[in-house]
Amino acid sequence: MEPNVPLSALSRIAPCLYEIPKSFRPDMRVGARIFANEEILDEIHADRSLWQLVNTAAMPGVVGFAIAMPDIHQGYGFPIGGVVATRAEDGAVSPGGVGYDINCGVRALLTPWSKTEFLPKLDGILNALFHEIPAGVGKGISKPLSFEEMEKVLARGAGQLVEWGCGYPEDLEATESDGRLASADARFVSRRAKERGLHQLGSLGSGNHFLEIQVVDTLYDETLSADWGISKDQVILMLHTGSRGIGHQNCTDFVRRMVQNQDRWGYALPDKELACAPLDSTEGREYLAAMAACANFAWANRQMITHRVRMILERIGRVDPREIKILYDVAHNIAKLETHEINHAPVEVCVHRKGATRAFPKHHPELSGLYRETGQPVIIPGTMGTYSYILGGTSASMTQSFGTVCHGAGRRLSRSAAKRQTSGAQVRQDLKERGTLVRCQSNQGLAEEAPCAYKDVNEVVEVVQEAGLARKVARLTPIGVIKGG
């Protein structure tokens, strides 16, 4: 078990920013920074995430700082809720810095309904979503993809689904990277990984993946909300899922390759799950290309679910499916080659975001026309029964955190500890009393994902705003939840 970083090693350098200096440990190549307030820092310190953050500061080619978001928690190797950038020229890329669920991410769908208009339909729509959107392990579409179809999805991402009639061209503009990383090369995704994904396109998965029906209860920025089509009392759907088995297998395959080759590159890293390869090596290039292909699958997955949601809402809600618009779709487990300013000079870096969300400001060249003038929306889901947030990207995040913010509330209790504190039946009851209906196959899964198992998302978002990394635009409250467990 890793040791912990003593709190005395941290110095507070700004109201919501702490630093662990490079001198803390001899193998650190850069310092580490943690965005947190005092209460959150205490929670962070209760697990080993700070030590894991320090480990990532030892990555070959790491630049700037190893950064922790306020929702950081202990992972395996890299902590969850961290950002690490390595120089493209001579740095390394690590599959562990992305995670097994490549392009796990969140999508928000705007509907034309107010809460009052929607409530009479809630039960029927929730039941239909629960029964018709595959969730849980192994469950996917009734007709699996062929290998040929899989190749197209891996190459074209969400765009392939639009071509198949499962979406609209404007959906791609409202998706990070237009729903596709052009650097994808499916040749480097193993056949086994592809096999795992054949029957999983259009499925939620389990654990903390969900489909939620939410209502806008507060607008913090009325101008930006109006620009983005968000209004008070509006019903919004939020979807959280990733690349399913194909991503998991791809990560397993490449972690194994890299573990076997660490000696070849002379890497001596404190944790095998930090295993990495030089970005300019065969393994590094192939990993990035395969990861991109799996990221494309995840965007296609969320696009397929969106299509199904639209069909259900059309049938039961009697709405034109085109009126269900994507606000935005963000990835929170991904590695991307981006240009950032390091010591006042532009440097191409590989940004590893593991449980962390991109938050680009206005005029950023990577943003599509839709958000070029405002900056991108950032979607931060809470836990069941708690608020979720829509934020807007700011320029401060570019200089402080590689254009990155948190991804959610961050776990603070293990699954066992959560089950000791509450039960699935109690969670259902508590949510019902708060006006939230839940559909989930497993009560055990509900207990493990209970709100008490997570940090306070309101505090997490406050830290992000106070640090200037993003600004609050709207707050959402759930009225219906579908969990995959």
Partner: protein
Amino acid sequence: MKRKFESLDQTADLRLRVRGGSPEDLFQNAVRAVFTAMKPRKTAGRVRRRLKADGLGLEDLFVNFLNELLTNADTHQECYDKARIKIIKDRRLVAQVSGFGVLGVGLQIKAATHHDLALGEKDGCYEATVVLDV
């Protein structure tokens, strides 16, 4: 008598401790540990698979074997409750696993990781601790 397997606290993932009287016994108990943790919802009928795995040493072999199981389980929508395993020079193994089809599971395990992996023998008892991504 110590339990053959148990789950330990881990913030966001699953940490298992597995025991056995020999490496093969350890690996067999690991099969039951993993799929018990997954809380499968079974369908009727039994399934059988032959698996192979290799590794740089016994620890690496352990992780690779668990990942081989998880790959097969996810691909074929199965879980396994029995295994016959032959380990060759701590670097290769062949296994025959049997189990059942599943409609779903209560907990999806994505992969076994190398994080905090420990595998050793003391007083004739083999013990392994492994963290799995859920």
